[in-house]
């Protein structure tokens, strides 16, 4: 299946626009004039599908040379299927130019990397902001945003500390989880994450997990108090003992025998140490 298609027009950044069409998409044409506002029905659909943060985008620059070198590097990376490099270059091009094609290509590169949440957000921006994309590109982006959104899962976190909020770190992003107020965190489905939790006066804790498509999981976070000397807290020792006992039973019996990955069915397999 071809993953790239080249569109060539005349002049400026868009002249050598390479639109990655991993799903054999019709190529969106560049906006020649500012389209009108979205119909009410479309806005309602997108409001459910897209985060608020994707509602606006920077206006495209009138200088067609801005971001062009980065765009061409992104095109070259995409042609070589170096999708990570393509993301970096298209992001830089978009930051400089505001070009919808740079944003569209960045979204497709994220999609090729199975980074569904970021792909959805970029498609959402294109689908919602009539200043930067024409009607055809918005329609394509709406379809792709919906497809990517199906591959995003949700984790609902609640901090049980009565006196403090909790900082949650996910892939370098820090989320302030207020005390007793649940907060929803979006994660890509079928990807392994490590979440870190810390709060003043409490021990840092980590949680590894992987969610499936469409899953919405609720988790309560309870951190252990930080003591200057561990033996000052008999309750902490009791908790540690309980955790070790329960963890050994659960991890040894359930975790090992049921949570291990199996060979893909229907093909020969070997076991490495």
């Amino acid at each position: 299946m071809p993953v790239a298609d080249v569109r060539r027009a005349a002049g400026g950044l868009e002249l050598a626009a390479l639109l990655l069409t991993a799903a054999s998409l019709p190529l969106p044409a560049l906006a020649q004039e500012t389209p009108g506002p979205l119909p009410v029905r479309e806005e309602a659909t997108l409001s459910v599908l897209c985060p608020d943060s994707t509602r606006t985008a920077p206006s495209p620059s009138t200088d067609r040379q801005l971001g062009r070198p980065e765009f061409l590097l992104g095109v070259a990376a995409a042609e070589d299927e170096r999708w990570g490099d393509a993301v970096t270059q298209f992001r830089a091009s978009y930051a400089l130019s505001g070009s919808p094609i740079a944003l569209y290509n960045m979204a497709l590169a994220f999609r090729a990397l199975s980074s569904h949440r970021r792909a959805r957000d970029a498609f959402c921006t294109l689908a919602q902001d009539a200043r930067i994309a024409d009607a055809d590109m918005r329609e394509e982006s709406r379809t792709l945003a919906a497809s990517e959104a199906e591959r995003v899962a949700s984790l609902v976190l609640t901090a049980e500390q009565p006196d403090h909020g909790v900082n949650v770190t996910v892939e370098g992003d820090v989320i302030d989880l207020a005390s007793s107020a649940p907060q929803e965190v979006e994660l890509d489905a079928d990807r392994r994450y490590e979440l870190l939790f810390d709060a003043p006066g409490y021990q840092t804790s980590a949680l590894e997990l992987m969610l499936s498509q469409g899953e919405r999981r609720e988790t309560a976070i309870r951190l252990l108090p930080a003591y200057e000397r561990l033996e000052e807290s008999p309750a902490l020792w009791a908790i540690i003992g309980g955790v070790l006992l329960a963890g050994a039973v659960v991890a040894g019996v359930v975790g090992y025998f049921e949570a291990q990955l199996d060979a893909t069915p229907g093909r020969p397999m070997v076991q490495f140490p």
């Binding site: 990807r191 955790v243 990955l261 093909r267």
Partner: protein, 174 residues
């Protein structure tokens, strides 16, 4: 407690799926596919099949490409995977000298990611390499870098790919 309980829901082993497409062959050919951990044996010895590492066999079709498959389950992710593809007569390569049939050798650099099913799909060239007397690989082994092996359910599955790293970090580990 919650953290420990949830952590057990994540696998601590890894699976690497290998999918290589071979072109049609005018002569009846049996493909023998062998894999070994990178730390135990190199390509400079004859690999005798064992119960732990059995040989997978595929009949090469004459009118359409043939896909050879292997699923490798690993406890340790810090190891390479060695792959040998032998182009044998219909009865197989048993009884032939180790250097009597064309052999393509591939070394995958640490293709495993903990808790993740990684995958490599590629298509080999039109003709198998000619046998090289005295060598167990007909050509020097090709090294497939860690960044050429992907994961997840992206649309890259149907094409040879590379570039699964962003600024040095593999996307399967993010």
């Amino acid at each position: 407690m919650v953290g420990i309980a949830l952590m057990t829901g994540c696998a601590d082993n890894a699976v690497f799926d290998l999918e290589i497409t071979l072109p049609p062959s005018s002569a009846p050919t049996t493909i023998e596919l062998d894999v070994r951990p990178g730390g135990t044996e190199g390509f400079d010895v004859d690999w005798a099949p064992t119960s732990a590492f059995p040989t997978a066999r595929f009949e090469l079709a004459g009118d359409r490409p043939t896909r050879v498959l292997e699923s490798i389950v690993a406890e340790s992710i810090e190891q390479d995977a060695l792959v040998r593809i032998r182009f044998c007569p219909p009865a197989g390569c048993a009884g032939l000298a180790g250097d009597a049939a064309p052999v393509t050798c591939l070394r995958f650099e640490r293709p495993f990611h903990r808790g993740v099913r990684s995958i490599y799909r590629s298509t080999l060239g039109e003709e198998p390499p000619p046998p090289a007397p005295g060598q167990f690989c007909s050509q020097p082994p090709r090294t497939v870098t860690r960044c050429e092996v992907g994961c997840g359910d992206g649309d890259w599955h149907d094409v040879p790919t590379n570039g699964f790293c962003i600024e040095g970090a593999h996307v399967c580990d993010s």
